[in-house]
Amino acid sequence: MINIPADDYVFLEKFCLDKYKFSHGDVVIFSSPTNYKERCVKRIVAMEGDYISNVNGASKVPEGHCWVEGDNSASSFDSRSFGPIPLGLIHGRVTHVIWPPQRMRKVDRRIREDGLAF
């Protein structure tokens, strides 16, 4: 799971759905590809056309898809399990945590240096 444990309420921005324009490091909410009723929150690590380093070499993210991973790599059910997800599954971009009050903050884009193969 990403750095938002259960029972955090977040503010979701939907203007990015107009053109499906996302960037590396965005935290997004999407329907899980294994169960459409569930929603997952993860960070976009790679967009279409990027290469992801796998155990068996580097694989390319297909067009129209993105590779999402949780910040807590150790226990995260993300693209390393279900593969790249189509961008059409994304419901919006997380901008702020709005509840509980002691966790209120802006959620920033954060780009990881490792993980991408060039």
Binding site: Y20, S31, S32, P33, T34, Y36, E63, G88, L89
Partner: protein, 229 residues
């Protein structure tokens, strides 16, 4: 002659009353009151009356304009909510769903309630967001739901080779009715259920959208059955 305004003597509030005193200077200091008359100042009264009713008229017009625009706004809200969450129309065009939908385009009714509650199944014509380009929506028929075993012809124009796979959990397999010219799951794989936008409705009531028409060569079907048995 000097005058004073005296509203307390007015018969009505909107009428200004001016009382005129006629006086005469007697000598240098004494002032003798000769007569007084009350004049109802009609022009001012009419002016004030006109002003009051002008304001009231303006208020009335503004209220009516606001009511009408609220009505229009409410109508647009209702249309937006219905079209997003309940029922909408779609224009389907292209060769991939021949002969069900014609080439140049047909306007169909699209409902989103079934897809939200999982009430779609094989044989339904649905609209999905393309996995290759999220800004595009495509119309295809569901051939298999999750767990179904799909046997499909990989490239019907060039060969008769078929492949079989099981649709993974949370996904569906879609194909166009015209498999000779359709970019569907045979190219981009099973589609996650979350990409479904809506179901074309009604399925079968108009007699046009029913079971998938047989576009596969019957000899191929016989070969398939022999393979499966």
């Amino acid at each position: 002659i000097f005058s004073r305004f005296d509203d307390s003597l007015s018969p009505a509030p909107e009428i200004t009353t001016i009382i005129l005193y006629k006086a005469q200077f007697v000598g240098n200091e004494e002032l003798k009151l000769l007569s007084n008359s009350e004049i109802f100042l009609v022009p001012a009264e009419r002016e004030r009356e006109r002003e009051m009713s002008r304001f009231q008229q303006w208020a009335l017009i503004v209220k009516e304009a606001l009511d009408k625009s609220f009505l229009v706004a409410k109508f647009f809200c209702a249309v937006h909510v219905t079209s997003t969450y309940l029922c909408s129309t779609a224009l389907v065009y292209g060769p991939s769903m021949l002969p069900t939908f014609n080439l140049s385009g047909e306007i169909v009714l699209l409902e989103s309630i079934s897809t939200r509650y999982g009430k779609v199944g094989s044989g339904d014509v649905v609209i999905v967001r393309s996995p290759e380009n999220p800004r595009k929506v495509i119309t295809k028929r569901i051939i298999g739901m999750e767990g179904d075993s799909i046997t499909y012809v990989v490239d019907p124009i060039n060969s008769d080779r078929t492949e079989t796979l099981v649709v993974p959990k949370g996904h569906i397999w879609v194909e166009g009715d015209n498999i000779y010219s359709s970019n569907d799951s045979r190219n981009f794989g099973p589609v996650p259920y979350g990409l479904l936008q809506g179901k074309i409705w009604p399925a079968g009531a108009f007699g046009l959208i029913g079971r998938r028409p047989q576009t596969v060569d019957p000899a191929l079907k016989v070969a398939e059955e022999l393979n499966n048995s």
